[in-house]
């Protein structure tokens, strides 16, 4: 414990310093991750070969509707899904170059909370109701940094202060039920950042908060990222949050990434019909109260028996014959921008309005 502490403390204190030791190495790199859950009479293929990576100081947004596997992707590599019934079938997940999959619980416990921190959706239920906020933050430091309780509690107060909780000293002695939702999420962020992790995974961090508080919490995350240079993986279904926060975006559908690129690629050069659908479903300020919100008709495929072809095929307005039977690969649209859609194939020969298709002849480039 002490040895490890000395190593991390002297060599590099912040994720930024750590990243500078090995430039170019992604903070987190996931390759072809496959996760399934045993269910009655079969298995649900929740994650079907997901690859993504995020650099230090960068934010990767993972978007998709409920059940598309965005949370499971992140949770499974940290051993946070119940196993069984969950099972990692294959792939790899490397944190600072170190393989996470296949590690024992004891080994994972030296990584979780240290090199990778997590913030969950509902802060009201994500914190232990019978433990003081300060103690919950201090626990991480006591376990991983070998601090005494006194020392750790002091540091916890400093962390609460840093996440802009007023009267941090008094607040640290309170219980979760005495905090408001936004404050709890700040405390949660303070807790996940206690050991200055290289990667912060935020799973729908603002979904349970009201809009004004959402803003503050997101701003806080960005500010700390600027200071410490950690990578953030932001899981959300809110495109607005992604647009504000993310550098890179991965759009997930039915356990797969269907489009991946920079935030500009995704929003201004959407190359997958599903991304178009998500964008169309986004409410904006001009929609009248009486107008119905746009929705994508239909529902995602049953991952108990995933379809042979593209999972979006049955809901897609532009589906072709090939889509039903053959699953497209991720096709390069431009540098660093990929889309899993046959429309991007040079031989598709179909032009879709609003869809970015460099492959189709004569399509406008923007």
């Amino acid at each position: 414990m002490n040895e490890e502490q000395g190593e991390t403390m002297t060599a590099a204190n912040t994720p930024r310093e750590r990243a500078q030791l090995e430039p170019g190495l992604p903070a987190l790199e996931v390759n072809n991750l496959q996760v399934e859950f045993a269910a009655q009479g079969g298995r649900v293929q929740a994650v079907r070969g997901v690859s993504l990576s995020v650099q230090s100081g960068e934010t990767l947004g993972i978007v998709g509707e409920s059940g598309c596997g965005k949370s499971v992707t992140m949770m499974s590599m940290l051993g946070l899904i119940p196993m069984p019934p969950g099972r990692i079938v294959g792939g790899s997940a490397k944190l600072n170059g170190r393989e996470l999959l296949g590690l024992s619980v004891a080994q994972l416990n030296k990584i979780r909370g240290v090199d990778i921190g997590m913030v969950f959706q509902d802060p009201m239920s994500a914190l232990n109701p019978t433990m003081r906020i300060g103690e919950q933050i201090a626990e991480t430091l006591m376990i991983h940094r070998g601090m005494s309780q006194r020392e750790a509690l002091q540091r916890a107060v400093a962390l609460l202060d840093r996440t802009k909780i007023p009267e941090a000293r008094q607040r640290a002695r309170q219980y979760p039920f005495e905090f408001s939702g936004g404050m709890l999420q700040r405390a949660m962020i303070a807790m996940s950042l206690a050991c200055s992790p290289s990667v912060l995974v935020a799973d729908e961090p603002t979904t349970a908060l009201d809009v004004t508080i959402q803003n503050q919490v997101l701003e806080l995350m960005r500010e700390i990222q600027r200071e410490e240079g950690m990578a953030i993986v932001l899981i959300t279904h809110d495109l607005g949050v992604v647009a504000r926060m993310a550098d890179q975006v991965a759009v997930m559908y039915a356990g797969q990434i269907v489009e991946r690129g920079t935030v500009e690629d995704i929003f201004y050069r959407s190359a997958h019909p599903y991304t178009l659908g998500l964008k169309a479903a986004m409410p904006d300020a001009h929609v009248h109260v009486n107008e119905k919100l746009t929705a994508i008709p239909g529902s995602p495929p049953d991952l108990f028996a995933p379809p042979e072809g593209c999972g979006y095929c049955s809901r897609c307005d532009y589906a072709m014959q090939v889509c039903d039977k053959h699953l497209p690969d991720l096709m390069a649209v431009s540098r660093g921008h990929v889309s899993r859609c046959w429309l991007q194939h040079p031989e598709a020969g179909v032009e879709v309005e609003g869809l970015y298709q460099p492959a189709a002849k004569g399509s406008p480039s923007c």
């Binding site: 940290l78 990584i111 979780r112 019978t130 376990i143 807790m191």
Partner: protein, 314 residues
């Protein structure tokens, strides 16, 4: 907190008054009287006795006297036992029942929490099935059966060992208490085991347990620091009623194991319509239970910060 305790004490006093009144009414509604049990007494002696005990007065006045005496902490003199004051009976025999009851409660609570936690940890595997099977038996078989089985067990064990390791009945040493307390606590323990099991299972899938795992907390520490305290809350809630169950269950166990506790006097008194003893022991038990339930409520506040009542926090 003081306000809360004060309120509860007040409602406790009302409860006790209600118990006292109900017992008084029930007693006088039963045909016969404490003197009817004795051999034929001459009418004038009987009148003297009635005058001596105040039974010749109108019922309402008797009630008034009884209440006023009770407020002074005087439960009167027994009708059937020579020269024994009810206060003395309680003073001499209640400690025996209390020791037995407390021991039974400790066994029940510790056992319930440990077994319940174990079944949750080994969910759907053989330790779970075995314990839950035993729990069903312990809940459904009445305590006098276990009391006799316990005695038979002690006998068999002593015979097998060739010397007397545990006494079969009586009172005096820790050896005397062990098996009766176990028998007395068994039903409650089984009930608490079931409660603890479901509560543990609920807590195991709670979000904050996932948070603790995401922080890199070891499974053992999660179990003790995060799960146990939260899972124990429902168990603490039913401790009050459990104390009542154990106390009343004590009557039977005391009888089988020939333990000189208060229970025996209580049962005897009812059979002989010994007014003062019935009233005294009932009111005393009532007060005791009210006090214990209050104690449990205060304890609950310590374990669950959300329940700390009446406290203004900023």
């Amino acid at each position: 907190m003081t306000q809360f305790i004060f309120k509860r004490l007040l409602s406790g006093v009302i409860t006790i008054w209600f118990i006292a009144t109900a017992t008084f009414v029930a007693m006088h509604a039963v045909p016969g009287d404490p003197l009817a049990n004795d051999k034929a007494v001459a009418p004038e002696i009987r009148r003297n006795l009635e005058a001596r005990y105040g039974l010749d007065k109108p019922v309402l006045q008797q009630y008034g006297i009884f209440l006023s005496n009770m407020l002074h902490g005087d439960f009167g003199i027994s009708f059937t036992q020579k020269n024994r004051h009810v206060n003395d009976i309680i003073r001499e025999h209640f400690p025996v029942s209390a020791v037995l009851g407390v021991l039974a409660l400790i066994i029940a609570t510790v056992g319930g929490v440990v077994w319940g936690a174990l079944t949750a940890v080994y969910r759907d595997r053989w330790p779970d099935s075995v314990i839950m099977f035993l729990v069903v038996i312990a809940v459904s078989v009445p305590s006098f059966v276990f009391a006799m089985l316990g005695q038979l067990g002690i006998l068999a064990m002593n015979e097998w060992l060739g010397f007397s390791l545990l006494p079969v009945a009586g009172w005096g040493s820790f050896g005397h208490m062990l098996v009766p307390a176990l028998v007395l606590g068994l039903g409650t323990m089984a009930y608490l085991t079931r409660l603890m099991r479901s509560s543990m299972l609920e807590v195991t899938s709670a979000d904050y347990i996932r948070t603790a795992r995401a922080k890199g907390v070891s499974p053992l520490r999660i179990f003790f620091k995060h799960q146990l305290r939260n899972a124990i809350l429902p168990v603490v809630t039913v401790l009050g009623p459990s104390i009542a169950a154990i106390t009343t269950g004590g009557f039977v166990v005391e009888l089988v194991f020939a333990i000189p506790g208060l229970g025996r006097f209580f049962v005897q008194a009812v059979q002989q319509l010994d007014y003062t003893v019935i009233m005294g022991t009932t009111v005393f038990y009532g007060a005791f239970l009210v006090f214990m339930v209050l104690l449990v409520d205060i304890l609950y506040g310590f374990i669950d910060p959300r329940i700390r009542v009446g406290q203004v926090r900023g």
